[in-house]
Amino acid sequence: MTRRPFGGGRGFGRGGPPIGRLPPGSAPRLSIATPIEVQLRADEYRMIRDLVAERLGLWFGQDARFSLERRLRERLVVRGLSTYADYYQLLKYSPLAEDEWDEASELLTTHETYLFREDYQLRAFKNELLPALAEQCAARKRLQIWSAGCSTGEEVYTIAILVLESGLFDAKDGWEVRVYGSDLSKRCVAAARRGIYGAASFRVTTEDSRDRWFTKVQTPRSSLPGGAPSLAAGIAGGGVVGAAATVSAYSVAPEVRALCHFGRMNLLDEERTHLVGRSDVIFCRNVMLYFDPPARRRVIDMFYERLVPGGALLLGHAESLLNVTTAFELLHLKEDLVYRKPSSSTPK
């Protein structure tokens, strides 16, 4: 007895139209494909997707097959592979796997960010959390903040600026402040260490703040994170910058840099995360939404373990711990809700 093939007649195709209930690929896919471009089969997609989730925690949903194919295609070309099944073998079993994961993670992560992002949360941090921390940490005179998934470093420098602006943790009074930024991407961490940003990173920064904490410099356009002009802008007003060799940018002031440290880290790598030490505050904004539920749970458990009792966890505005864990208390601030490790808790 035979049955129809799995998925037969369901019309699942390439790409993923996100409109309501429509099956992916219902709109005509019109991209030009050259004869040598390899396509990612459904079974290959699932295996690579699961591997990526297990290793990096990043979750690609059912509509993301085309996205994964596009992002990883370059690696097949570089490695001279003829199928994504070969690429799976490479990532899973090859002695070259470690190096390849470095390259793959660069292509699979999202790096969009800017300075002073989600200002209401930063105000709550500056006006309410920092004064409380100044009291809590007064005896040891040491404050550690971790920006987990810091991308190109804008969040780390923002936090350091807010700490400095608060005036509560002056080194002259013996305070030792450390803001640690970690990211999965080696290139992002390198950009964070450079600490030079173009206009796109300052989209919500006041001129006063920019002039106070940054110095104007000339830098190659290619070295800047983000900031690409759009076609619509080109049509509307012309005057879009071309591919000029150097552009004006802003470099982080030395006093801000002095507080900031960076490192490359996979949040699922327990050996590495233990190196961070205990933090008073952990920022992990707009990172967890890319994780699958088991990875989210593992990372949250790790944050709990890495926070000092009473330490705060700040997530992105669209993220919560609902149905992830009950281990954190909700702390109601005037402008935000943040999570706090109970003061009475004991390390796991």
């Binding site: 004869p35 295996m47 070309v77 001279g80 070969d86 690409a228 759009s230 080109g234 049509i235 071309g242």
Partner: protein, 686 residues
């Protein structure tokens, strides 16, 4: 077993964190104290303790006793926290909680009945849905509304449940009570019911019902529906207009192959300046679904001012499909604005526009000059799409410029140039041949020449001197040339080519060695490959050898790979599964089934991935068994495959597993698979 007294003591602690941690131990307390302690924790004053208790409920035994004990808490009036935690606990227990909720329904007051209904919605089963249908005639109007809302989950409980729910909800649309009509519409929308547009049309005039009625109409191919949805894009209420745009896009997709239907909406949108303004704003909405819908609708408007906006969307994976479709509706009218915009935009967007031009402009037209100009761009993101475009529309004059990019430092540009040169040289053989006369096989032009020889070989236009050139090119200093020479020799064929390629198996560059293996497959060297397969342990190399062998001699590849399926080395077994899976040799199915009990879960998943391509019942049975596999990752994978299968049998299996599945992650996968199933009733509303 944990001591019940100790847990009870800690549940009485003044410290919430202590009580929360004690709650985590309740499942290991023996019955009957466990049930009692669970209720204590569910009634705790701290939300974290209650939440923890709810999440523990499914692990407390005996389950039936727990369900009926917790269901009694639905009658609670004083402690609202306990009541809500009880609902959450019962939902997390799942289908096993349904009899308890149904039983409680008959004894509860109206407030309690609403809570029981919430449980039936949260743990959807056919029995629960039948109960909800009965609740739509409850004497309390709020209970009826709750039941109507809950019936929106019927699609998760199977086709029969969906059918009885949809029928009930459709009847409720005629209710005198506005709230009931509203709830029924919302549920019909949630269950994606097909409701005739004639039923919905009268509801569009009611300001409160309009939005949901429009959403339910989404996907309809009725001309009046397309007209109404297009008109509603101009609704003064921005939320209604937004939802109308989403619904319109669903109908447009459903009608895509029927231009006269699409034009019904197009005419309406073009006639309204307000509609165009609205769509432009929605095309920048943060929600990708809304952006996609607005972009598709803007394609119908065909206003050249929108081309830049649509082209921007080409660089956005989430909506690119719709942007391409919309630009196609413009046809040649999009070309000029695309060219203007492309001159100054970011590289990735310039590349996206370049890739669209050959699809929009006639061959050899002026705009294609822009594609050729793009080869001079310094950004790889522009050059690669231009080369891909020329692969399709390029002529003899493009051969030289394309050749200039085959050794480009960017791998994507080099690969695109390779493909383009192969394609254009195949189409214009004589022009290609004249280009390669007298080229030094060790020189800088060796790569492009080798690729052209490959193209000529593929069109049976080889000359004797070509083989000599390629043999020399095999010793070129650049790996890319050696690899291209191997490919070209494989295209030429013959024993001499095979002999030459064999030496490259030992090349120090993996890309060359792998190309040599693949070439031997194309050249039919089964004996040689079988020998290689017996001595190779590197998994990637072995997989390539076996796949090449499959091309040369499928039966032999199968014979070589089959014993490797049981290899204790997962990497070897995985390579074997990959190859056995793509063959159509007799015994393939049995071989794959033998890999299903491999100790490595990844091998089992790979085997499942291959089995689902089979039309045999035994493959289906294997996937069914895998839903019971000991490893969570395998169960999750199998559940996804069954969900994709979409048949009634698969649905039954998934539902049965849902009742017993201990892993939250797998349960979620099953729920997603079930909710994604299309309605078996099918057919577009008219």
């Amino acid at each position: 077993m944990t001591d019940a007294a100790s847990v009870r003591l800690r549940l009485a602690s003044a410290e919430a964190e202590t009580r929360r941690r004690a709650t985590q131990e309740i499942p290991s307390v023996p019955a009957p104290e466990a049930s009692e302690l669970l209720l204590l924790a569910l009634a705790d004053e701290d939300w974290r303790v209650r939440k923890e208790a709810a999440s523990m409920a499914a692990r407390v035994e005996p389950r039936t006793a727990v369900v009926f004990a917790v269901a009694r808490a639905l009658a609670e009036h004083e402690n609202v926290g306990l009541r809500n935690a009880a609902v959450e606990a019962l939902i997390l227990i799942g289908p096993d909680a349904v009899p308890g909720a149904i039983d409680a329904l008959g004894r509860l007051d109206a407030d309690g009945r609403k809570l029981a209904i919430e449980v039936l919605a949260g743990a959807p089963t056919l029995a629960g849905m039948r109960t909800l249908v009965r609740s739509t005639v409850d004497p309390d109007v709020n209970v009826v509304i709750a039941a109507a809302e809950a019936l929106g989950k019927a699609h998760l409980a199977g086709d029969e449940a969906r059918e009885i729910a949809d029928q009930t909800l459709a009847k409720l649309l005629a209710s005198d009570n506005l709230q009931i009509r509203l709830a029924a519409l919302a549920s019909l929308r949630e269950s994606e019911a097909d409701v005739p547009f004639s039923t919905l049309e009268p509801l569009l005039g009611d300001a409160l019902l309009r939005r949901n009625a429009l959403l339910v109409a989404g996907g309809s191919r009725a001309p009046r529906a397309l007209l109404a949805l297009a008109e509603a894009v101009t609704d003064p209420n921005p939320t209604v207009a937004r939802d109308a745009t989403l619904a319109l896009a669903l109908s447009l997709e459903a009608s895509w192959e029927e231009p006269e239907l699409v034009e019904v909406a197009g005419r309406t949108l073009r006639a309204s300046a307000t509609a165009r303004k609205r769509l432009r704003a929605l095309a920048k909405d943060p929600d990708a679904a809304v952006r996609s819908a607005a972009i598709l609708a803007l394609g119908l408007v065909r206003d050249p001012d929108d081309v830049g906006l649509l082209a921007d969307a080409l660089a956005d994976d989430a909506v690119a499909t719709y942007a391409e479709a919309a630009l196609h509706l413009f046809g040649q009218d999009a070309v000029e604005p695309l060219l203007v915009a492309g001159r100054s935009a970011a590289p990735s967007l310039r590349g996206a526009t370049i890739s669209m031009l050959p699809q929009l402009a006639p061959r050899e037209s002026e705009p294609l000059a822009a594609v050729r100009d793009a080869l001079e761009d310094e950004a790889p993101e522009v050059v690669a799409p231009a080369l891909k475009s020329l692969a399709i529309v390029g002529g003899p004059s493009d051969l030289a410029p394309i050749s200039g990019h085959v050794a480009h430092a960017d791998p994507m540009v080099a690969a695109a140039a390779h493909g383009a040169l192969l394609a254009v040289a195949s189409r214009h053989a004589s022009a290609a041949r004249s280009m390669i006369a007298g080229v030094d096989p060790r020189g800088d032009l060796a790569l492009s020449t080798t690729i052209i020889i490959d193209a000529l070989a593929r069109t049976d236009a080889s000359e004797p001197a070509d083989a000599e050139f390629l043999s020399s090119a095999l010793t070129h200093r650049e790996a890319a040339v050696r690899r291209a020479a191997i490919d070209a020799l494989a295209s030429m064929g013959g024993d001499d080519a095979a002999q030459a390629v064999t030496f490259s198996l030992a090349d120090e560059e993996p890309i060359v060695a792998l190309a040599a293996i693949r070439a031997l497959g194309r050249l039919g060297r089964a004996e040689q490959l079988a020998t290689l397969a017996a001595t190779t342990r590197d998994p990637m190399r072995l997989a390539t050898i076996l796949r090449a062998l499959a091309e040369a001699d499928p039966a032999r590849a199968f014979a070589a790979a089959r014993p490797l399926l049981r290899s204790p080395e997962a990497s070897i077994a995985a390579a074997a599964v990959d190859v056995v899976g793509v063959t159509s040799t007799e015994g393939r199915l049995e071989a794959l089934l033998s890999a299903m009990d491999h100790p490595d879960n990844e091998v089992v998943k790979l085997a499942l991935g291959q089995l689902v391509r089979s039309e045999d019942d035994r493959a289906f049975a294997a996937v069914t068994r895998a839903v019971e596999h000991g490893a969570e990752s395998v169960r999750r994978y199998a559940a996804e495959l069954l969900g994709q299968e979409g048949g009634v049998e698969a649905e039954t299996i998934l539902r049965a597993r849902l009742d017993r599945e201990p892993s939250v992650v797998v349960r979620q996968t099953i729920m997603t698979a079930l909710s994604a199933r299309p309605s078996s009733s099918g057919g577009a509303p008219t």
